[in-house]
């Protein structure tokens, strides 16, 4: 019979992504409810040294696939390898982080295994041994509770939603055989932004600007984000104007984010924008129009010209801090 919770822990260039800790912690929580064990899987090149970190978050065992052929994520190599780990260990639950790679991998593997997968989940619970996942649909307008058939029960969790919990376990390392099989894609190049920039999907604080910024100068927003240790986001209008890159766009056709604090500056609050940031823990809106729909979703609103409000907030932060 299937046993244990298996968690795919994503690392990039030798560091775990935050979502890896979130996924292992969530796996631990589910396993504790079931009285079961947690195994994590790490693939990459030169990752044996970091794999042990996952013990801290509750991994009893850590499978390591360490090879130059796994240095960069490719759908085929990772799916082929993970498929073998799943076959050999027969877990009852298989968790992923719903990052871009996590989505790509989990979807391909679910099809290969012929089992159900709940994507981009914001909560997981158990009904006996059945995994019940909560996931937003229709751009977050509704929440669905979904049940999964087949073994393992697969779920990919939304980054930045689930808690990272320390609960040290043995974390015994076990090497897995490297058998990447046919890999149909070749990595030609990687172009990464400055390493210091935290991706919007993982940011605790996001300061976003919209058409109200009036132009490509996002200096005020960048400064506020920096003081708060946050990342800059944008509405689609700001992206369409060419003021910000597409990768900054938050919304239904942009990134779905769940920071602790989202500060929307000069953003009206269109439904498609809300689809991307509606699940933020706290929302602050700064807009000069008191009738802007964003105020209906904001925990705190300031009706002011953003070019006056942001410097005032900065001054205040410097004062107390």
């Amino acid at each position: 019979m299937a046993q244990g919770v298996l968690v795919f822990a994503e690392q990039v260039d030798g560091s775990f992504r935050k979502i890896a800790y979130e996924a292992v912690s969530e796996g631990r929580r589910l396993a504790d409810t079931l009285g079961d064990t947690v195994s994590a899987v790490v693939f990459g090149s030169g990752v044996e040294g970091i794999a042990g970190e996952l013990a801290q978050y509750g991994a009893d065992k850590i499978f390591v696939g360490d090879d130059s052929a796994l240095a960069d994520y490719t759908t085929d190599a990772y799916t082929n390898m993970l498929f073998e780990v799943v076959k050999d260990n027969d877990p009852r639950i298989l968790l992923f982080g719903a990052s871009s790679r996590g989505k790509d991998l989990s979807a391909r593997l679910a099809a290969r295994l012929g089992v159900g997968l709940a994507m981009d989940c914001i909560a997981l619970k158990l009904d006996g041994e059945k995994l019940i996942a909560t996931r937003p649909m229709y751009g977050g307008k509704v929440l669905a509770e979904v049940a999964l058939e087949g073994v393992p029960q697969m779920s990919a969790i939304r980054p930045n939603v689930m808690e990272i919990v320390q609960s040290p376990k043995a974390g015994d390392l076990e090497k897995v055989a490297i058998k990447t099989d046919v890999v149909k894609t070749r990595v030609v190049e990687k172009r990464l932004e400055v390493a210091s920039k935290i991706d919007l999907t993982e940011a605790d604080v996001i300061v976003s600007g919209g058409r109200g910024m009036g132009g490509p100068d996002f200096g005020a927003i960048e400064q506020l984000a920096e003081v708060l240790g946050g990342t800059v986001g944008a509405s689609r209008s700001a992206v369409d104007e060419g003021w910000r890159p597409h990768s900054d766009q938050v919304g239904q056709t942009g990134k779905v984010v769940s920071p602790n604090l989202y500060i929307a500056c000069g953003i009206s609050g269109a439904i498609q924008h809300l689809a991307g940031m509606g699940s933020s823990k706290y929302i602050v809106a700064i807009n000069k129009d008191p009738g802007a729909p964003i105020f209906k979703k904001a925990d705190y609103g300031i009706v002011e010209d953003l070019f006056k409000a942001i410097p005032a907030i900065m001054a205040e932060l410097k004062k107390v801090g």
């Binding site: 871009s100 790679r101 669905a144 990687k190 609103g301």
Partner: protein, 262 residues
């Protein structure tokens, strides 16, 4: 080159979503249906590839009769042919069931390149394209913002957290679209006229030789048990104050002491 676009019809993003009586689906009566925005990018990219390399663009949809309207829109944009798989047995299919049907249809029509949306904005599933690629045994490349085809190879720029990954693969292959790849064209009036005469073929599972017992609700491995509305956000508070400085001070205080997020 035979390019097939997987196109799904979804509720317009502006549509008010209402939960149906069964509490597990949505009411479809007053919904305005549109092409999934990411699939619009897929149609546009297919047309650009065709314009550059010649070939044929086929629109493939599994859905209800009303999806004809969306397929016609894509034909009016410039696609050559539409295929609609409308079969009651497909109802309630999950991603894998849907992919089985689409993969069978793709084998039937033939393809060099399959273009899909990264996600459908109704189920926000992010799953069907990968499952289709798996069933066809071809490469999938996710979230593409730029592509170039030369000598039977496609090179794609894909968005990943923190940057871009450039991947190359041989055709046939499947890729999914990410915003930034293009700005979809509007259907022109002559285009709309021409679309009326373009072939729109309807197929059933029997035509595709798909066993109805392999798809549909009964076979779904991922099943919606219930839908609910997310908890309403507590009514926001507009911060009062005589001056902008006073408002700023109060906001910072609230974020520190009440929300405890800074």
């Amino acid at each position: 080159m035979d390019i097939v676009v997987l196109l799904k019809q979804v509720p317009d993003t502006e549509t008010l979503i209402q939960i149906a009586g069964d509490k597990a689906s949505i009411r479809t009566e007053d919904v305005k249906w549109v092409i999934n925005p990411y699939d619009e990018f897929a149609v546009e990219e297919a047309l650009r590839i065709k314009e550059k390399h010649a070939g044929k663009v086929t629109i493939l949809t599994m859905g209800a009769e009303r999806a004809v309207e969306s397929i016609r829109t894509a034909l009016a944009m410039g696609a050559d042919e539409g295929v609609l798989i409308d079969d009651p047995a497909t109802q309630g299919s999950d991603a894998l069931g849907t992919a089985k049907v689409l993969a069978a249809a793709l084998k039937d029509t033939g393809y060099d390149l399959v273009i899909a949306g990264q996600r459908a904005v109704d189920d926000d599933g992010y799953q069907v394209p990968a499952a289709v690629a798996e069933l066809l045994g071809i490469a999938q490349v996710s979230m593409v913002v730029k592509e170039e085809i030369t000598d039977g190879k496609i090179r794609c720029e894909c968005t990943i957290e923190g940057g871009i990954m450039v991947l190359e693969t041989d055709l046939p292959a499947l890729f999914t679209t990410q915003r930034g790849i293009n700005e979809p064209r509007y259907a022109s009036l002559p285009g709309i006229m021409k679309a009326k005469k373009k072939p729109l073929i309807k197929k059933t599972l029997a035509d595709l030789k798909v066993d109805p017992s392999e798809v549909g609700e009964a076979q779904a491995k991922c099943r919606v048990k219930s839908l609910s509305f997310p908890p309403e956000r507590s009514p926001g508070r507009i911060i009062d104050g005589e001056t902008v400085e006073a408002k700023a001070a109060e906001l910072v205080r609230l974020l520190r002491d009440e929300a405890k997020v800074i």
